[in-house]
């Protein structure tokens, strides 16, 4: 198939006087993981719901494998699957019942449906929980049955809406592994997330969404380069030494240094910009410079830029700016869900 998995042009969705999605253009090549990165209420879920034929766009066009999501909704539905933020399985039913129900709705015979359900439960490590109601599953198990239900129809395009929100690190890693395997088998994945590291881990390309608009697009590498490769966090032993430490860091890293609310802490961007040295090397030199200046450092770390830092860099305001009204946005998204 030569058509891209997803192509949108000027996509708009309005809830009341809130433009939840405000002219989004996306092109997602088939066979890749594409990340939609943004804070709560940025419009990610609304984009996904329009692409999954659950919401009708108010403007613009969107196609999935060349099929228009409004005019050819049934053709789109035949090729996609959605795992929403809220478990998209029936919590009153058991794991087996949920999967058999879906398999029957996809046209499998009774015997085939049972076989398919058993195969999926085994693949997702849920055989023992097969006859338990889903409401008794743990968060990680629920996510797995949800994803299992989503790949029952071997979709060509899988929407994963914040698949790891609220999961413990172990379950999150399991979900990441599953996503990689699903893609390796030829399914395109559109992933929404609030976590830069998740998008970085999984996605080949990322679009950063804010207030219904795409504000940056590119590979994770390009995105991080535009933000700064990482952030150095320093915690001193003596608050008296902070001004001195600030000067040393600023000089060694060549960036501005921020004083944290904690009187012992400083953070600074470790840009590789301009030089061919990596961020870690810059950070190491900064640490050495601090030691040379006789400043006692209790804790020193180089972290990936957080979503907040990405936003700060791209929009000059943090992702969770209350004045930006993410709360009204997320209400709108909830209404859309309801």
């Amino acid at each position: 198939m030569s058509a891209p998995a997803i192509e949108t042009s000027g996509l708009v969705k309005v809830f009341g006087d809130n433009r939840a999605v405000d002219g989004v253009d996306l092109t997602v090549p088939a066979g890749t993981v594409y990340g939609l990165l943004g804070p709560n209420g940025a419009g990610k879920t609304t984009v996904v719901r329009m692409l999954a034929t659950l919401l009708r766009p108010d403007g613009g066009t969107a196609t999935v494998f060349g099929h228009d999501v409004v005019r050819q909704a049934d053709a789109v539905r035949g090729r996609v699957s959605l795992t929403g933020q809220y478990a998209s399985v029936d919590e009153d039913l058991t794991g087996t019942e949920n999967l058999v129900l879906l398999a029957r709705l996809l046209g499998y015979s009774k015997a085939q449906a049972r076989e398919r359900a058993a195969q999926l439960l085994a693949a997702f490590g849920l055989t023992e929980a097969a006859d338990r109601q889903v409401k008794k599953y743990s968060g990680g198990m629920r996510r797995r049955i949800d994803i299992g239900a989503s790949i029952l129809n071997t979709p060509d395009l899988l929407f994963l809406d914040e698949p790891t929100t609220g999961l413990d690190p172990r379950s999150r890693n399991q979900v990441w592994d599953i996503v990689r395997m699903v893609v390796a088998n030829g399914t395109t994945v559109l992933l929404t997330t609030q976590y830069l590291d998740e998008a970085d881990q999984l996605a080949g390309r990322i679009a950063v969404i804010d207030r219904g608009k795409v504000i940056a697009e590119g590979t994770p590498g390009q995105l991080k380069a535009s933000v700064g490769a990482g952030t150095v966090h320093v915690r001193l032993r003596d608050a008296e030494q902070r001004p001195a430490a600030e000067r040393v860091l600023a000089e060694a890293l060549g960036t501005t240094v921020q004083q944290e609310p904690d009187p012992l802490a400083l953070t600074a961007r470790a840009d590789a910009g301009g030089s061919d040295r990596g961020a870690a090397e810059h950070a190491a030199r900064a640490l050495a410079a601090l030691a040379e200046a006789g400043i006692v450092v209790d804790d020193f770390s180089l972290g990936q830029p957080s979503l907040d830092e990405v936003f700060l860099a791209l929009t000059d305001r943090p992702a969770t700016d209350p004045a930006a009204g993410p709360d009204t946005d997320s209400t709108a998204e909830k209404e859309a869900v309801a």
Binding site: R77, A87, D92, L105, Q174, D177, I178, V182
Partner: protein
């Protein structure tokens, strides 16, 4: 919230590329099911929910029994001289009242069900669109049959002796089920349209109380003032009750039966269409 049980087996799970690859092997996709098959599958879902939450059958057994007993003994002596005589007139009517009142649970059930993520999945499946709702009402039809049967049994114990015999009773129940299936679409519309379970309940009561009480269920309308008689005469519940009384008496009133069937068809056509429009727009 719910109890999260983390079994050792579950946390030890490691995804395997082999098994997940096998699941995703692209074989021939099955043919999409017919509208009827898809609806039946959704009906099966409703049965499973009854199996897992059997308490919900309380509404369709205890409520009708109480309604029957209450009104038989409350009105029987005053209106017909004895409860036994009253029952011959009253039982088909209270059966209609109880079952038609139970139809509102369709709306309440849909309203709570659709809030959950599972409807997102149903709506992204390439199946006949109304199947999820038709199947849901199929499950409710089972509840209607159960409620109607309960009332007939209570009636028989109290001394109800239908002239139409077994055929008459079954025919009466069948007509009631057909009408209730059609009437349920009013509630699916409200279930999709209104925001909360409570408002669905409120609207249902507002519609159901006048509809069932301002009818010929409890008393002969001839003693009512003219304007009320006029309402009772056009009330579909009155037509339904007249039709069912005639069937249970063994004296099939084809005019009223036809009226009821046509009304059922109109209800499905109007409210089914409105429901589907709301369902697609949600």
């Amino acid at each position: 919230m719910s109890t999260a049980t983390q079994t050792p087996e579950a946390s030890a799970y490691t995804p395997s590329a082999e098994t997940i690859g096998a699941v995703l092997a692209r074989g021939d996709r099955p043919k999409r099911p017919s509208a009827w098959a898809a609806s039946l599958t959704f009906g099966w879902r409703a049965l499973l929910k009854i199996k897992h939450v059997p308490e919900q059958l309380f509404d369709v057994t205890a409520f009708p029994i109480i309604m029957t007993l209450m009104f038989t003994y409350l009105f029987g002596g005053a209106l017909a001289g004895s409860t036994r005589d009253y029952l011959q007139f009253f039982l088909p009517g209270i059966m209609v009242t109880s079952v038609v009142m139970i139809t509102m649970y369709t709306g309440i059930g849909l309203n709570t069900d659709i809030e959950k993520g599972v409807f997102d999945r149903f709506r992204t499946l390439p199946v006949w669109r109304p199947a999820a709702l038709v199947g849901m009402i199929f499950g409710d039809v089972l509840r209607y049959i159960l409620a109607a049967t309960t009332i007939v049994l209570v009636g028989l114990i109290l001394g109800f002796r239908p002239q139409g015999g077994v055929t008459g009773v079954l025919g009466g129940i069948a007509l009631l089920v057909v009408f209730s299936f059609a009437f349920s679409w009013v509630w699916t519309m409200f279930g999709l349209f209104l925001r909360s379970e409570k408002s669905v309940m409120g609207v249902s009561m507002l519609v159901l109380f006048p509809l069932t009480f301002l009818s010929n269920v409890f008393v002969d309308p001839r003693t009512m003032p003219g304007w009320l008689q006029a309402f009772v005469d056009i009330n579909p519940i009155s037509h339904l009750v007249t039709a069912i009384r005639s069937i249970m008496d063994g004296d099939w009133n084809m005019g009223e039966i036809t009226w009821t069937l046509v009304a059922s068809g109109v209800l499905v056509a109007v409210f089914g269409t409105l429901t589907m429009r709301l369902y697609n727009r949600k």
